[in-house]
Subunit: 180 residues, 2 copies
DNA sequence: ACAGCCATGTAACTCGTTACATGATTAC
DNA sequence: GTAATCATGTAACGAGTTACATGGCTGT
């Protein structure tokens, strides 16, 4: 029963565990609101191929609806899907996080960048970081206090703290680059 | 001249910009010491294929050495390679970091995990985080105060601060899960 | 009428991994 | 002599992306 699926597949099953009966399109939207910050938001095309595969594995089932001429497919977790998800969650250990940090990577080669560029790179990063934070804050606000989304809220708070500490660290780095 | 290479290719060029005349094997070791923490450490096989490609693009050149029966290939940056690397570094903006955080992803679905498991997952994460930190600290120590590696040292310090703030946040999360 | 969103998919391709394969050199 | 490390590659595969392709529904 513990067939190896990619983490992204489990992530999609997890989204279905919250809002059952979603279309591929809606699933992508949910992914943009949550997965994007802690994992990745798969491309639309991948969502659809993934759903097809999960259906073949009988982890989700699909209902075809017809509204006028348009066909809409809504996906639900099956019992097998729910079991597979819980088994994955119970299977330790969780892998160590992977960080792909282009700004850190570039700063590593700081001696090849001119000083002004180094500083403006960090400034630009601070700006995009602030933007991201606003986006995550909006998601956090939308979750409110509802017990049903207590864990998503907790993780969103974690993410916000991370953005804050990153902001502080980069600001300090920026200051160190100032004095030269 | 600004042909699009993958970020990992530039990362390898960057490593060659520090220690010129490295073998594929040595390059992999350097990657394990630095890139691993902020980007990814490519598999050995990828290092070799990447070097072959970079050579075809004339961004690196290769010297074949013979020591007894063994053939060793040492790679150096060419002028074109150095230029391509600098151009990439000067080409803003740097992309936003990507975080793949399996622990956060799982906690998102915390309602599907039993409370004991939730706590032990965070405990295990704290442990591997401490381990990682020791590894990065060793790298940092090896860099010392030398001006030639000032930027790698700066980035290593940044990474250490990140591990520390992550430790603090997870410890706090762990505490919140305690009271239930 | 037109824009923007909803909705679903296929095809080609790239990046990167694991598994496979080989063998020399060095230190104990 | 034998284990660890140095050294280089090929083959098969998987995960994920972008580009391509289509078309209905909704609000103004």
């Amino acid at each position: 029963m513990s067939q190896e699926l990619a983490t992204t597949s489990y992530a999609l099953l997890g989204l279905l565990a919250f809002g059952d009966g979603l279309t591929g399109y809606e699933l992508k939207q949910r992914a943009d609101n949550t997965l994007r910050f802690y994992w990745v938001s798969p491309a639309m095309s991948q969502v659809y191929t993934e759903l097809t595969r999960l259906e073949q594995l009988a982890l989700v089932k699909m209902n075809t609806e017809r509204r006028g001429l348009r066909t809409t497919r809504r996906y639900h977790l099956t019992d097998a899907g729910s079991t597979a998800l819980r088994e994955w969650l119970a299977r330790p250990p969780a892998e160590f996080p992977i960080l792909k940090h282009p700004v850190a990577l570039r700063l590593l080669m700081g001696h090849l960048i001119d000083p002004g560029m180094r500083r403006s790179m960090l400034d630009a990063y601070l700006q995009s970081l602030a933007q991201r934070r606003i986006e995550l804050q909006a998601v956090r606000d939308s979750l409110g206090d509802e017990p049903a989304v207590r864990f998503p809220a907790m993780v969103a708070d974690w993410g916000l703290d991370y953005y804050e500490s990153e902001r502080a660290m980069v600001t300090e780095l920026r200051r160190r680059l100032e004095g030269e």
